[in-house]
């Protein structure tokens, strides 16, 4: 890989250990995946923030980087943490909360912004063609497919390295020829709800692995495409999709999806028929329009006793949508920021079954949270959560 003189110096440790180790990560990965140079990134977004997921193992490394002066050289943001600062923080042990705060503070010391959301694109939308180094897989797919920005699926450490150096190795979907579709998808059935998009994503992720699909016309809203991408990236390794058939009719492998595929994927995401004691919306974190939609569905209703309703979003959206947030909270729901079901300890909150409109959460929760799950559109979720 070709390195500039300044990059060479960093690799040799002339700017200290933190930058040296970051540079070693980038150069090694670049070599491994055939990059010939590093390219500047507009922003880095880091997963690996919640104490539930990270555990104690990472604290030592993050502390070493932070104490040896590692600071982000580009705009850098953080994924959700294990609790919000108002509601869940009071329900966990002091030790857990301190560990989480320690992790967040270490990142802050590296000048990484504690945005604590998986939807950094709602805070600042990347422009088409901008290079990024993002490691939240749902955000990667959204950035590449809906926003037209360019990012590989980074891991937590490689996104940190990119933040410190301000660059990423030039391979994968940073190169135009690797962004072209490799398979054509024809959806032979109508997609009616956000969970249909999610189920389609789970179905395709398993089939496609890391192939890039082009849909033969897919006309979902941005919120629905967000569900599709998040799900695809969970059951597979997809970094992006195209919503339109490529103009040049290339010879592409074709896959058709029928209604039974969507039905099967949906039922595989329902591990119980029991009534939930937690209803969760907001994976990935809700957009403003999703918060508004939930408020519209719940207006005039009351969350039933023995059931919790969580609507997870970023602080920015929570502030911007204040009146809708009030509507949800007046009905007895909790609009939580900085966290979500997957990165917190819902089992310790006595949740035995939960319902969600997120195929990604339904896909991961039985293993990551060890609880039974039902996938249902937001309209059903609110019906189940509220008194009739």
């Amino acid at each position: 890989m070709y390195l500039t003189k300044q990059e060479e110096r960093m690799l040799n440790g002339e700017q200290g250990w933190a930058y040296q180790v970051a540079m070693k990560i980038l150069v090694r990965l670049g070599d491994l995946y055939g990059a010939t140079r590093l390219i500047p990134v507009q922003s880095a977004h880091l997963s690996g923030v919640s104490y539930k997921h990270l555990g104690d193992a990472a604290i030592g490394f993050l502390n070493e980087v932070a104490s040896k002066g590692g600071k982000a050289q580009t705009k850098a943001t953080l994924n959700p943490s294990s609790f919000d600062p108002e509601y869940l923080v009071k329900r966990y042990s002091k030790e857990r909360c301190e560990k989480q705060q320690r992790i967040t503070q270490l990142y802050q010391k590296m000048l990484i912004q504690p945005t604590l959301t998986c939807t950094p694109y709602y805070l600042e939308k990347p422009k088409p063609g901008q290079h990024l180094a993002w490691s939240e897989s749902s955000a990667v797919v959204y950035a590449n497919s809906v926003l037209g920005a360019w990012t590989n699926r980074e891991g937590s450490p490689s996104a940190l390295a990119a933040a410190l150096v301000g660059k990423t190795p030039d391979y994968g979907v940073h190169q135009l020829q690797n962004r072209r579709p490799t398979v054509l998808i024809k959806v032979e059935t109508g997609l009616k709800t956000e969970t249909d998009y999610g189920a389609l994503g789970i179905h395709l992720g398993k089939l496609l692995k890391d192939k890039i699909p082009a849909f033969e016309g897919l006309y979902g809203s941005d919120d629905e495409l967000k569900q599709l991408g998040a799900a695809m990236a969970s059951s597979g390794m997809t970094a992006m999709f195209h919503t339109r058939r490529p103009r040049k009719q290339e010879k592409l492998e074709k896959i058709s999806v029928e209604s039974k595929d969507i039905e099967e994927a949906t039922s595989s995401l329902c591990t119980t028929t029991e009534a939930p004691n937690l209803v969760f919306l907001g994976c990935p974190h809700c957009s403003g329009s999703e918060v508004k939609r939930v408020a519209g569905l719940i207006k005039g209703k009351k969350v039933r006793e023995g059931v919790e309703l969580w609507v997870c979003t970023s602080r920015r959206i929570r502030e911007r949508m204040r009146s809708h947030v009030d509507t949800i909270e007046r009905a007895g729901g909790h609009v939580l920021c900085d966290t979500c079901v997957l990165v917190t300890w819902i089992k310790d909150l006595n949740v035995h079954t939960f319902m969600t409109n997120s195929a990604k959460t339904a896909f991961y929760a039985p293993t990551l949270n060890e609880v039974a799950t039902t996938l249902a559109p937001a309209t059903n979720c609110i019906k189940v959560a509220c008194k009739s």
Binding site: V21, K24, I25, R28, L29, L32, S47, G48, H53, L54, G55, D56, A57, A58, G60, F61, S135, E154, G155, S156, P157, S158
Partner: protein
């Protein structure tokens, strides 16, 4: 006991030398969730190394998988003195590569690990990308 001193040639991923007893798995390994970061013991359900200590071993397995946070688990056990001395993979994946780099242990890939048996004494050269089988397990 045979003393064949075979050398397997692969690709150097992380520099350095490490030698010791091989611990060989036929299955992919996820460090996050699969290895306990307090003890360095493999805890992944249904794994052929379940219950094994990684300490001072030359850890040979086909490939890594799972969360990229696994890199930090490898770093953590190595810093505690509970980690492997070197890693040998069939196919390097990002999680293990980054883990070996930050933990500063040698790593080699593109090795046919079927050639190595648990208990073989092997020498890994992460610069040259070689794995020398110095003594075969009886």
């Amino acid at each position: 006991m045979k003393e064949p001193k075979r050398t397997l040639r692969g690709r150097g991923i992380a520099p350095g030398h490490g030698s010791g007893a091989a611990l060989v798995s036929r299955m992919p390994l996820s460090f996050l969730g699969g290895v306990d970061y307090n003890s360095g013991v493999v805890v992944e359900k249904n794994h052929d190394l379940k219950g094994e200590l990684l300490k001072d071993k030359i850890l040979c397995f086909p490939s890594g998988h799972g969360s990229t946070v696994g890199s930090y688990v490898l770093y953590s056990i190595v810093k505690k003195g509970l980690g492997p001395k070197a890693i040998v993979n069939q196919v390097a994946d990002t999680v293990v590569v980054v883990g070996a780099i930050i933990a500063e242990i040698p790593m080699v890939d593109q090795i046919d690990i079927a050639q190595i048996k648990t208990g073989d004494i092997v020498e890994v050269d992460g610069d040259k990308g070689t794995v020398k089988i110095a003594r075969e397990a009886s």
